[in-house]
Amino acid sequence: MSSLINGMTLVLCVTMIGAALVAIRDKRLPIAILASGLVSLIASILFLVLAAPDVAMTEAAIGSGLTTFLFFFVLARVRGGEQDGADHD
């Protein structure tokens, strides 16, 4: 079944890079943060495919979970500053 695993990896990699591009390019900060959470989420499935369940669980609980929550807590405190420095490009 290694071809199945290879195909899965490809789809996951494409999804992850797409999400990363959204995270960098999108003008709205909440969406950028959400996209970076999605990158972590997909990365954690990728870790599982790479036979690293420990890392997958850490990434799911910490990288995708707590980091995103921290970002949103901070974002709720800086309302009004989301668009700062976005005047170029």
Binding site: M1, M8, P30, I42, G65, T68, F72, A76
Partner: protein, 86 residues
């Protein structure tokens, strides 16, 4: 036979993943993207189940448990942020 079915299932799940990703990139509102995020997490749970099945390792399922928890918490944090309750 069963192998064929597993292949088919993985293909369908992959297509669903790409559809949800399309919605995530397209938007238009933040709430739409949150839904797409939730759906992607749920598809991720199925994907974890499939990986566990293919690799024959039951211990991978612990990660799926954490996922089930995270999709819930993430959506709630973002929803509370959106309605200015955080």
């Amino acid at each position: 036979m069963v192998d064929m079915l597993i292949y088919l299932a993985a293909t369908l799940a992959g297509l669903a993943l790409l559809l949800a990703l399309y919605r995530f990139i397209k938007g238009p509102s933040t709430a739409d993207r949150v839904i797409a995020f939730d759906v992607l997490t749920i598809i991720g749970i199925t994907a974890i189940g499939l990986v566990a099945l293919i690799e024959q390792r039951g211990i991978y399922l612990d990660v799926a448990l954490v996922y089930a928890l995270l999709s819930f918490l993430g959506v709630i944090v973002i929803a509370r942020y959106l309605e200015r309750g955080l």
